[in-house]
């Protein structure tokens, strides 16, 4: 049946700058200072090593369940690196490196995944939200922050992270729709790592790309090679600028891969082929970036070696310091922070715990 095609203001697009062999597209290469390039590299390397060490700690039973980031270093760092400290960052739960870049202490990750609430504390001055575990729920907070920024006429933006699976939650669409209606300064960064636990991207949605989901809300959407830190940086920079100067929200789909486990409770051999992982190992974001830096003469094998030692030592210190703090915790502390002040009913419950503890102590002394 013949009919009119509706012209849309936006279409979904794709961007790649640094290919998997480290070859850069001169046309598109962003002009970043040597200092920034090296800083990005060191951060990714440290992120990778910290991730490996956390996995060891978990395997040794020294911390609980945690979600590794291996393979997604560029995908999150390229985006967050564009932000000003005064901007806001709203992570999901797999943005460990992005949070470290923003200033969260490695020590706090060990505390948090070691079972200590103190670990999710957000220091004054760092405008980030703590991790958000309910999938798809946090993007609305970023939109609300963006709306508040607009109301206060501040030159800030809010950047939020979420996975491919999160795009199936209704809240994801409500967030894009609110952001569009109020033209809030928000950048939506989807970490499409191809898997939502055992569900592959193709089973998550019939859509060809996740970037095109922006079209439902009249927003620009772009898909970038998430293992290419330069492409992620360039796309994020454009989106952040647009948001900062009143151009409204953008959806960025970082096309990457989760090389490791969903969490330490997960067994990927149940649902994916080693072959697929091997293919993606070749696209490692850190290796290709090292090639790029070496070709630019910014990185030597020796420098790299030194850097590795430095990072190893840094992480070792962090582990020791945090474990010194993991001394079991103070039971009565659990009554903190549910309300600003303890209501009478909670004061009574706290007293009950206090006396139970005393009693238990007495019995121990008895035996």
């Amino acid at each position: 049946m013949p009919r009119k095609k509706i012209e849309l203001p936006y279409s979904a697009e794709y961007l790649s700058i640094l290919d998997e062999n480290g070859v850069v597209d001169k046309e598109l290469e962003p002009q970043l200072s040597e200092e920034l390039l090296l800083k990005l590299h060191r951060a990714m390397l440290a992120g990778r090593r910290f991730d490996e060490r956390m996995l060891n700690l978990q395997r040794q039973g020294r911390i609980g369940t945690f979600p590794p980031i291996k393979g997604q270093e560029a995908s999150q760092l390229g985006a967050v690196a564009v932000l000003e400290p005064s901007d806001w960052m709203v992570p999901a739960f797999r943005e460990t490196l992005a949070e470290i870049w923003r200033g969260k202490a490695m020590e706090n990750f060990i505390l948090y995944y070691g079972g200590y609430d103190e670990g999710s504390m957000v220091e004054k001055g760092r405008n980030d939200l703590p991790v958000s575990i309910p999938v798809g729920s946090q993007m609305l907070h970023a939109v609300g922050i963006g709306m508040a920024i607009k109301y206060r006429k501040q030159p800030q933006v809010a950047m939020t992270f979420f996975g491919d699976g999160a795009t199936s939650e209704g809240d994801f669409h409500e967030a894009l729709n609110f952001a569009g209606v109020y033209q809030a300064p928000v950048v939506f960064v989807c970490q499409n790592n191809q898997w939502a636990i055992s569900i592959p991207r193709e089973k998550q949605t019939h859509a060809k790309t996740l970037a095109q989901k922006a079209l439902a809300h009249g927003l620009p959407g772009i898909q970038v090679d998430g293992n290419d830190v330069l492409a992620v940086y360039a796309a994020a920079q454009e989106a952040v600028e647009r948001a900062r100067f009143g151009g409204g929200p953008t959806l960025i789909e970082c096309y990457t891969y989760r090389l490791s486990l969903h969490t330490t409770a997960d067994d990927p051999t149940k649902y994916r082929e080693a072959e697929e992982v091997a293919q993606w190992e070749k696209k490692d974001p850190i290796i290709r970036f090292q090639t790029y830096l070496q070709n630019k003469g910014l990185l030597t094998p020796e420098a790299l070696e030194g850097m590795e030692e430095e990072i190893a030592k840094e992480i070792q210190d962090v582990v020791e310091q945090s474990e010194q703090r993991m001394t079991g915790g103070e039971p009565l502390d659990m009554f903190q922070h549910t309300y600003d002040e303890l209501p009478p009913s909670l004061r009574q419950q706290k007293e009950e715990v206090r006396s139970n503890l005393a009693l238990a102590q007495k019995e121990v002394d008895h035996d």
Binding site: L140, H141, G144, G146, M147, T338
Partner: protein, 326 residues
């Protein structure tokens, strides 16, 4: 003082708080141009503009989810959910984030959010427009659950809710929106959250209720005095949760008898908690089992039968007579 309906009194509370604190803003479906389907936010758009009175897209989770972000940023959003029957769409945002952000950030962020909504029956409404599910929110740590019972306390409680640093669910008894007027002072007035009120003194039995149920409860107290010479003491909870039971205990330790009244379904409803508290703290003073006069554990019927569902004066009087038998 001018005589106001609850709708006008709630409007006054928001108008005054917005006028003196630019962190306060409103959002919800139809709260702007339309002034809310019950007109509770009438004229506030004209006075404060689109930046502070936001007509939102039709998405409850979106309304509360974005409000959480605003609150974290430092604003004091007041959201309206058009009917409490649609508040279930927000439970995950409320439980997972509004209630937990203070704890999760270890005190760095707080969520001074108010979510207002009309609740309850008795207005010949459509399906989903008559329910009372305050128990869902009362059982959610980190949230405060408030329900006024008249124009004056509605205004004073909403003021406190807006100023409270914790998320507050504010149920408005829609049956009372225009049922009667009260003197409401122009000058600022607030009632601290978390404090039930003694609204009628008595020595023979304690009646505990809140919201729209205060009307039949107070009528019952009158009737009991007139017909049976029974002096009923009446307590209005005002804040359902966190529940401060001190006043209830003092009263029942004196009267030895109590009847709890609510529209919500009986089982696992708010009345059960009050009885459990009395069991724990006033058991030795009880002279008769405490009675519950409540809604039933069924789907709320369409309005041809709602009078059969709703607790009324007759049922309350009847229950009191029961407790006095022994």
């Amino acid at each position: 003082m001018t005589k106001m309906t609850m709708v006008q009194a709630l409007n006054l509370a928001m108008q005054q708080e917005m006028a003196k604190d630019d962190r306060v803003l409103l959002q919800g479906e139809d709260v702007g141009v339309d002034g809310g389907v019950f007109r509770v936010t009438d004229k506030l758009l004209e006075q404060f503009g689109e930046e502070r009175v936001l007509d939102t897209p039709l998405a409850e989770s979106g309304i509360v989810g974005t409000a959480i972000g605003m609150a974290i940023y430092g604003l004091r959003p007041v959201c309206e959910i058009q009917f409490s029957g649609f508040s279930y769409y927000i439970l995950h945002q409320l439980e997972a984030h509004a209630a937990r952000m203070r704890h999760r950030s270890q005190g760095r962020y707080e969520v001074p959010l108010v979510v207002r909504m009309p609740y309850g029956g008795g207005v010949r409404a459509l399906e989903h427009h008559s329910e009372s599910r305050e128990a869902y929110f009362a059982h959610t740590p980190g949230v405060k659950m408030v329900i006024p019972s008249g124009p004056r306390n509605a205004r004073a409680l909403l003021v406190s809710a807006i100023r409270d640093p914790n998320p507050v669910i504010f149920f408005e008894p829609k049956a009372l929106y225009r049922a009667f007027r009260e003197e409401v002072p122009e000058e600022e007035e607030s009632i601290p959250l978390g404090q039930p009120q003694l609204v009628r003194k008595g020595k023979d039995v304690t009646l505990i209720a809140y919201g729209a149920m205060m009307t039949p409860t107070l009528e019952a107290a009158e009737e009991l005095l007139a017909k049976d010479g029974v002096e009923a003491e009446v307590i209005d909870l005002l804040t359902i949760s966190p529940l401060d039971d001190a006043l209830i205990m003092a009263s029942v330790q004196k009267t030895g008898r109590a009847v709890v009244v609510h529209e919500a379904p009986k089982s696992f409803g708010p009345g059960a908690e009050i009885i459990a508290r009395l069991m724990e703290k006033a058991f030795y003073y009880l002279e008769a089992p405490i009675q519950r006069v409540t809604g039933y554990d069924i789907i709320y019927p369409l309005f041809a039968l709602e009078s059969a569902y709703m607790p009324n004066t007759g049922r309350i009087v009847q229950a009191v007579r029961e407790t006095l038998k022994t």
